[in-house]
Symmetry: C2
Subunit: 316 residues, 2 copies
Amino acid sequence: MIERSNFILNKKITVQAPATVANLVCGFDVLGLCLEAPYDTMDVTLNNSGIVTLKSSDGYPLPTDPVLNTAGAPLLEMMAEINMEIGFDVVITKNIKPGSGLGSSAASAAGAVVAANYLLGGVFSKSELVRFAMSGEKVASGVKHADNVAPCIYGGITLIRSIFPLDIVSIAAPSLYVTVVHPQIEVKTADARQILRKEVLLKDAIRQWGNIAGLVAGFLQNDLDLVGRSLEDVIIEPVRSILIPEFNKVKAQSKLAGALGGGISGSGPSIFMLSKTMQTAKEVEVTMREIYTAIELPFYTYVTTISNEGIKILSS
Amino acid sequence: MIERSNFILNKKITVQAPATVANLVCGFDVLGLCLEAPYDTMDVTLNNSGIVTLKSSDGYPLPTDPVLNTAGAPLLEMMAEINMEIGFDVVITKNIKPGSGLGSSAASAAGAVVAANYLLGGVFSKSELVRFAMSGEKVASGVKHADNVAPCIYGGITLIRSIFPLDIVSIAAPSLYVTVVHPQIEVKTADARQILRKEVLLKDAIRQWGNIAGLVAGFLQNDLDLVGRSLEDVIIEPVRSILIPEFNKVKAQSKLAGALGGGISGSGPSIFMLSKTMQTAKEVEVTMREIYTAIELPFYTYVTTISNEGIKILSS
């Protein structure tokens, strides 16, 4: 039941919407993981204007037409469902680079709907929020997918068992450290999808589902070596990794530095690695930096952990 | 270290080697589950004869040449590895019907090696026992596969994440009741394998690995409804089920009777269904009986639970 008396009107709240790693190597299109950092910061206000306004706090060029904006489109859908005269003002500080493969559009979409839901008195469930946020992903990539918005909203590790109907499973995440390198090249999600074959060998598919089963068992039974052994992708990575300079070297050297394993984040170009300790995660970062410095390709790196909270609502 | 002083010589022990359900719907070639019943009973004696003798307790026709026998071949491999003058006498009481899809050959192979290992003072690990038992499967079907012998030896639910190298993961099983119907038709494992396509659609493979991830998460997070939703196979079942009369009816009616879900056991013709309670499992059995009685096809049914113990060694 939607009650106007539960609304928090004309009061700005701030949310932090973190980056996410989709696919998780053997979990193409179904698994995702929420990072502590980097994150976008969004200031959101609920009002009676009947419209959505969108601004960047720092001059970052955003589409200001809400229909074309990854944060705006989900808010419009929400407003249509609520069917009362409401509106939102949104100011976005983008820290997650668009095109990084770290769920930049998902963070904007998920951050907006989580903030809006808080201001509306929490009328929607997490699963409904994912559904709204997916229309932001449609604006960004043309496809409604949930493997970034779900971990962003639920936190931790999520499985999209089915997308129609939507079936999201939270998978309790063990304590793991994540190193990410984002080499400054452009990989378009649509291109990364186009180069995949429509058919795969049954024997490769079997190997892949053995690995995803091992990965989920490793997470839930806290068997980190099993997690490492299961981080193997015989279908997507061999094709997509050719789009990412030095991918094989980054992977091999990161493992030598002690990482459990890892691979392409989303459709790339970022590469993520999981480690048991912060110290190893930092050593992996050093290795990644050396590799891209050697070929003079600009990059960003992040050393962080899994966020079990997802989007954080800060006191206004 | 193998020590003759640890051997239990010339003393008969009895083991119960249970039936197993391989594949578990969406876990083709990688998942398996150990049942409490039915089980084969095997009397095994260790001696210094240098040979393996094999007998049936009840006149059931067994290959008596150990090289050609599913229990004999693994024992010969074990003896070669031990490299001491030993031998085994084995008497088998077969209760698991060969060709049922319930791991009949696996039970013989696994029962023999578990009994032998006990008599040899426990020199081999479970993973090594699986490796020996796989050569029994090779005798039976021409292929070394582990998805029946592993759950038989480990008990509970097992994942074969990789077969070369062998990587077996025990998955803690929730409390579940299993109903099995074995319609009396012949489905050869080799035929059942032959009719599968070598290539599958990527989108189907993705759906399948979403389901196996959901199934493992459901088992480990004790979310039985998730187990039910995940028991979906879009790749193997649509092809193999045409070999089993009334398959779709058995599945649909069992679910109406309250089963969480289920499918083909191994390569068939047996069909298994999982239920939350013994009462539901018995109601599922009634439904199965009615369906095969109506078409006058002889059948066996079993109502049982998951065995977390696997093969039982009885006091001699």
